[in-house]
Symmetry: C2
Subunit: 196 residues, 2 copies
């Protein structure tokens, strides 16, 4: 058994690695994955293009790590909420406000990464699986909260409604504070389901 290599949280290599992630997230979201060269990322970080490959084995690995970090917190909350035996409408309200808060606050509008067409290709299938889990959790909660007489497809619209804050944030710079948008959107989702 060998000991884990301990990297202090503020070591130089750690900071560089995280700056690469942060810069790449912003550039991928703004310009697209294929249109963002490793040179462009490196220049923005202030290192040479080849030095990226000390921190990541490939450009794909950079995007893969970004994607993983965006979906995991929501997935964990989903599991907690489903275990907590709340009324479906209340569980959904909490999930929606949490996700809207994250999407509006995260730097660089990283939520846009979900929609990158390249994410549909083979190297990112792990992320797609995790994302499908999140979609299913939303659909289960929304279906349970659905009022009689409301068309069942409405339950599949909730996640899309939540994520519509991503382009909204890009296109409408003057938005109310995240918490206010989150509560308004959660209330809108519940009205939409007839669960007001």
């Amino acid at each position: 058994m060998c000991q884990d290599v301990v990297v202090p949280a503020d070591s130089r290599v750690r900071r560089t690695r995280e700056e690469i992630l942060s810069v790449a997230a912003r550039l991928f979201a703004e310009r697209g994955y294929a249109a963002t060269s490793t040179r462009l990322i490196a220049d923005a970080v202030g290192i040479r293009q080849a030095s990226l490959y000390y921190h990541f084995p490939s450009k794909e690995a950079v995007l893969a790590e970004l994607l993983a970090s965006t979906v995991r917190p929501s997935l964990e909350l989903c599991r907690d909420l489903e275990a907590a035996d709340l009324a479906p409408a209340e569980a959904l309200r909490r999930l929606v406000t949490f996700d809207v808060g994250v999407l509006l606050r995260v730097e660089g509008n990283v939520g846009l990464l979900y929609a990158l067409p390249e994410v549909g290709t083979d190297p990112f299938s792990t992320f797609r699986t995790e994302r499908a889990e999140l979609r299913d959790a939303y659909a289960r909660l929304a279906t349970a909260a659905l009022a009689p007489g409301v068309h069942p497809v409405t339950a599949d619209l909730v996640l899309g409604l939540v994520e519509s804050v991503i382009p909204l944030r890009r296109d409408s710079p003057k938005l109310p504070p995240p918490d206010e948008v989150g509560e308004a959107l959660a209330a809108a989702a519940l009205r939409m389901l007839g669960a007001g």
Copy 2:
């Protein structure tokens, strides 16, 4: 004055040009703009890479034409509806069902093109202007239909809700018929605004 050059609707050049557009739309939506090479498009059409440049001056021009053709029909309907002096809720219901129908029926899920990050770059600013017009029209109608006591930001969510059928179509292959989804979504939008 010179006469316009008349190109018959089914001429060979016209068919090739339209097949380029159709194939490019599908590939851009599936794989992204930068990740789709002119060679890949040409191979799928069955011509040589260089022959694309007889029909289009650049790769950008192909995407620009696709974008223009997707936003224009909705913009025209918007203008008609605003002129027709309907109740805002009814005008919005018609606009929503129309757009959902188009987005669900158009071949190759071309709606995904809206979200391509490359669309945010300079060469596509004309499209972005037209798209901003559509967004404003949605916001005007939705604001007019908003019930008292409902948070105003809710009006800005309607377009996002409509466009959430684009990823829905990609991720949930088994969806009800377009008309049914359109009506369910329009009803959901009106409930969300408190205008049920």
